[in-house]
Structures are given as C-alpha cells and as structure tokens.
Symmetry: C2
Subunit: 208 residues, 2 copies
DNA sequence: ACTTTATTGTGATTTAATTCACAATAAATT
DNA sequence: AATTTATTGTGAATTAAATCACAATAAAGT
C-alpha cells in the first residue's frame, strides 16, 4: 500500500495530462511524454507505474485509454465522489459555484452551517443546519467533507463531521485538526502557501 | 540556502504555534512542545532550527519572542507583503473578503480582470483592467500575485503578471504554468487535493 | 529471418530527509 | 561546590525518495 503523498499526487497529474493528450487525439504515450507534461523525469514516471503494477509495452509505450482506466481505479475515479461542506461562507460559495469539480467526478451534495441566514433547503446545493449533517451523511453514504468554518469553530465542526461518519476532511481552517486515526486530513493553508511563496521569491532574488 | 519546501512550511507552522503559545502567556518553549503543537518529532524541530542557525539555551529551551523574530526574519514577515490577484471571480472574492491575511501581514492590494463588469476602481480593494497591472505592480513594487483565472486564460494571465514584474504566483488554475526561472510558482489544485484525500480514505478503509 | 532501434521495467545507486543518540552544558538541587 | 537533571545542538545512522543504468524485449527495418 503506497502512502507517499507526492507519488499519489503525481498519479493525479499523469491522469490529467492523459486526458488532455487523449482529447488531442493521441492513443499512445511514452514515459518521457508524460514526464515532460508534468515536469518530472521519465524514470520517475516508470517507477511510479511500476509501484502500482502498471505496465506498458516495451518499445510501444502505454495505451492512454487503459492507463486512464488503471489510474482511475487507483484514485477511486471509477465512481462519482460525493462530498459535503461544513461552513457555507465565502469559500464554500466559491466551491459550490465551481464547475470544474464535475468533470473530475466530484459532486458537492450539500453544505451545513450554524447561521440560519445561510440555510437554503431547496437550493440546487442545499445549505442545511449542522444538526442535519449526520442524517444526510449516513443516508447518502458520504465519506468526504470540506471544512470551511472559521478557525474558532473548526475543531467542533470537524468533530460533528467525524460523528456523522466522514472519513476524510479537506481542511481550509488554519489549524491542526485532531482526528480519529481512521480518518484522513488534507490541509490547505493559504496563509502558509503565500508565506512559503514569499520565502522562495526572496531566495530567488538573492540568488539571481 | 535551504530549499526544502516542507522545511519552510514547518517554519511557518512553528511560527503560528508560537503566536498561540505567546498569546496564552508563555515566554519560553521547548523543542518537544513545538513538536507536539505541529505534529513532528522534537529532533525535527531542533534540526530545522539548527539549519537556520537558530539556537536556544541548553536546559532553558527557546525564548518565544526571540524565536518569533528570527522565524519572521527568515520568512520575510518583517514587513507587510503586498499582493495582487489576477481574475476577480468567485475565488478572488473569497480571498478579498478574508480577514485572516491581515494578521499574517499579507495585504491584497488589487485584483485585475478582463471583464468590464468586474471593474471597480474605487472599491476598498480595486478591481482594475488587466492592462493596468504593469503600472500598478511597478509603482507599488509588488512581487507576489495570486492567479485565479479559468484554466483557458491562465497562462496568458501569468505571462502578463511576469511581464509586470511579479516574481511569485500562487496558482489556483489546474494546470502547470510555464514560468521564467527567476520566478516561483506554488500550485493549489483543489481537484487534486480532493482526489488525494479520496485515495487515502480508501487506503484507511482497506487497512481498518 | 536477422538486425537495429526504441522503450520499458526494475534492481542498484545516489541523494535527500528524518531520526537517533549522545556529548555539551545550563539550571536546579543537595 | 559538587551533583543531578533536563535540554540543546549536531554528527552519525537510518529511512525514504528519486535517479541511474542497463538487460529485456517488442516493433520496425533490411
Ligand atoms: N476565504 C478565504 O480566502 C480564506 C483564505 C484562507 C483561509 N480560509 C479559511 O477557510 C475557512 C472559511 O473561510 P471563509 O472565508 O469561507 O469564512 P466565512 O466567514 O465567509 O464563512 C464561514 C461560515 O462558517 C459558518 N460557521 C461558523 N461556525 C460554524 C460551525 N461551528 N459550524 C458550521 N458552520 C459554522 C459561518 O456561519 C459562515 O457561514 C476559515 O477557516 C478561513 O480561515 C479562507
Ligand atoms: N472556485 C473554486 O472553488 C475553484 C476550485 C478549484 C479550482 N479553481 C480554479 O481557480 C480559478 C478561479 O476560479 P473561480 O471559481 O474564481 O473562477 P470564476 O469563473 O469565478 O472567475 C474567473 C475570473 O477570471 C476572469 N478572467 C477570465 N480570463 C481572464 C484573463 N485572461 N485575465 C484576467 N482575468 C480573466 C473572469 O472574468 C472571471 O472574473 C480557476 O482556474 C479555477 O479552475 C477554483
């Protein structure tokens, strides 16, 4: 069981590059094409595939269709992933209106909030009270959620999500969530991303 | 010059943990406190500090105030970082209304768009035509930008940013930008973050 | 059919990152 | 003042990730 996050992220990138190549009419691809497309070495590509038992044809490269199927299987893209959001604020609004998730097989089913002003039971993507999360998650068998609640309420909201049966959280709140150890957390900390960028801009400036 | 991204991200996390400890009234901290706070080992903390020549007192730990100052210096937090956004859509709206950047010393100065309907010259954070980016960036000496333009326009918008003098981009568009090699790119690909989360949720499910 | 050529697949090697382990030492205790 | 204790700082060891390098081999060419 491979648990190298970078490796799994590369698989996603290969997949996205393959979609583009396929849409351009390509049928086969070589490891160095994929390498160029995502900015790694060709042996990295082959090693990644090797790790998951993905094989191509010596001399003939890889068949895009079959590669996409295998990568899709590994990444769980063989079915639509249904997702909820905790916190129906600005960020949630952007996520709910983003059309790009659909074509990746990701569907935001509902958002949950504590503020009655945010409730919208009959909207295309309904916004419901936090109290209804458990029922919704259980009856729709949802496993993944996005946490878009302010820092102060974040741990409490996460606990509600875990109690509802959520097993993975994409966390936008700038703190380290405590989670049961059968649950996964991916943090997106934009303050830190920007801070990090500033560091590297300064490094490059000093170097150049 | 340390260029290990994970290491720099840990510095940010130490800093954030230290702010919290300081606000709770603590004056000193030991490597194992910081380790617990951000979820790494104590020797990782000490090694990270050692890499940047940060020292504490044997037996006495580290003084929080001085540590914060040193980390701030390394991360460029000794001055306010001024930032622009390309693309004044949903995501930009969320970013422009987010109050959390201020207290991290990040200030969004303006957004730029091609859609005249988005223009708002006199708003608190003005939304200006792309054509005005260069003047604005040059006269305000801005180095960092956020790219929040749809995939199709993303490379063109990035090129405009580079031409304006931007040296680092936080990129939300789901593609690999081509950039001059004195410029830094940090990608935030939310589709991939979710996909990755799904993978690890499935892994955990199989394990348990 | 044989040879050449291009590309895979992977064990071996290298490089990078993390952890270990302990001497150095500052503070606290006796 | 001597001893104990707790903690740093870092070189050494370990582990993890990436790259190298090349034998295996499938396709194309002669
Ligand atoms: N907006 C950004 O650009 C941005 C940038 C970086 C980080 N973040 C982080 O993302 C998260 C969301 O940011 P935002 O700008 O959308 O915030 P927001 O204030 O616009 O929205 C937060 C929503 O969460 C709701 N809420 C508060 N407590 C709750 C609880 N306990 N349970 C459920 N809902 C609750 C509020 O009613 C509100 O609707 C925050 O943690 C923020 O720190 C946002
Ligand atoms: N909104 C999300 O939740 C989300 C999630 C994942 C990824 N993204 C990515 O983030 C980016 C922004 O998403 P969004 O939802 O804010 O999009 P959006 O459609 O709401 O806004 C995009 C804005 O960019 C402007 N624009 C278009 N072409 C431009 C150009 N060449 N130069 C300058 N401006 C231009 C448009 O006028 C619009 O105002 C996209 O690349 C998207 O793929 C967004």
């Amino acid at each position: 069981m491979i648990t190298n996050k970078n490796c799994i992220i590369r698989l996603s990138r290969y997949k996205n590059a393959l979609y583009r190549l396929r849409d351009l009419g390509f049928v086969k691809v070589f490891s160095d094409n994929l390498a160029d497309a995502i900015g790694v070495t060709a042996s990295q590509v082959r090693k990644d595939f090797s790790l998951f038992g993905i094989t191509g044809n010596r001399k003939g490269g890889y068949e895009i269709a079959s590669l996409l199927e295998k990568l899709g299987g590994i990444l769980g893209k063989d079915r639509i992933e249904r997702v909820i959001i905790a916190g129906a604020g600005h960020l949630a609004y952007a996520l709910m209106h983003y059309r790009g998730f659909e074509k990746e097989g990701i569907k935001i089913e509902a958002a949950f909030d504590i503020d009655p002003l945010k409730f919208a039971k009959n909207a295309q993507i309904p916004v419901l009270p936090m109290e209804e999360m458990k029922d919704f998650v259980v009856s729709n068998n949802i496993k993944v959620g996005v946490l878009a609640v302010p820092e102060v309420g974040a741990q409490r909201a996460a606990d509600t999500m875990f109690a509802a049966g959520i097993k993975g959280i994409l966390n936008f709140a700038p703190l380290r969530l405590k989670a049961p150890n059968d649950c996964a957390i991916n943090n997106v900390n934009l303050e830190i991303e920007l801070e990090n960028l500033v560091y590297f801009v300064n490094v490059l400036e000093k170097k150049g």
